[in-house]
Symmetry: C2
Amino acid sequence: MEAPIVTGPRYEALLELLRAADAVWNASRAFFARWELSPSQFNVLNVLRDQPLGLNQTELSQTLVMHRSNLTGLVDQLESRGLVRRREAPGDRRSWRVVLTAEGHRLLRAILPPYFERIEAALAHLSLPRARRLATDLRRVRKQALNPNRPDPLSRA
Amino acid sequence: MEAPIVTGPRYEALLELLRAADAVWNASRAFFARWELSPSQFNVLNVLRDQPLGLNQTELSQTLVMHRSNLTGLVDQLESRGLVRRREAPGDRRSWRVVLTAEGHRLLRAILPPYFERIEAALAHLSLPRARRLATDLRRVRKQALNPNRPDPLSRA
DNA sequence: AACAGATTGTTGACACCTAAACAATCCACG
DNA sequence: CGTGGATTGTTTAGGTGTCAACAATCTGTT
């Protein structure tokens, strides 16, 4: 009784994927705490880095893959610290253009070098070709996860 | 001005890791919605599956890698649906032994086949050896993420 | 010009996780 | 015994995400 349930390497890989992402996310939370930033706050700053004209909050939410409503609070927090500013959007009175302030740029310049250094160190054990293959595999997993379209040929016709 | 910032394959892999995990998590949320279960609720049931004596909430929190305080609500929800029961723990009046009810077992038996089928389908494009390598790489990434101790032997002696 | 429908940012309700504090209970050591 | 220090589950507050609904605004069509 209690069928043993065979799991297999693919299931194993999926579990490891979730565990690894969780660990990485927590590590990054600890890393950014030094500057009293959450990972999401950092991501906002990082996305704005090479956007001299800024982005509106909907554009931000799309590149960060999160809901619009999230950006309200996120930008509020960063703005109250003077790292970011809401400018009026020329020609559209509904939206703002969110831009980095000089101080935001300064903070980002301080964070980025140790940030990339830390990432390189954490993945140092992966050769570059292997890192490339890892990225490729993960990209495929993501696309498949998003598309349950496959009418799964297994579901007995 | 604005140093170009070289990212590299390892950084790319890290980003894909986070994105893929997010996609998988969301897909699983959509998947379990059919039975009005959250992924976390499912995980509780799944962990209890092969535990005839049940687990207490601290043990559950350790295997699920989440805080104790979370289990209170999670078990409350499952118990109110009759999927799980809190039994008195023999010899320890502080804790409960959380066990699956017959109905919990029935629900799990209904969920597991399509669950594993779905996972296999989502990762079907990965050959088994490749899935194994993916799991290995992810395991290493997780361990490195948790241990920033390594003074990384590469950092120019 | 004017109206219908889309889009923007905000709000409020909810879910889920963390962390600190608490009472009840266990355990080890004198 | 009995007493001090751990452990268990709960509560509370806080962070971060989702989603639905809303007013303000834009856009396209007539």
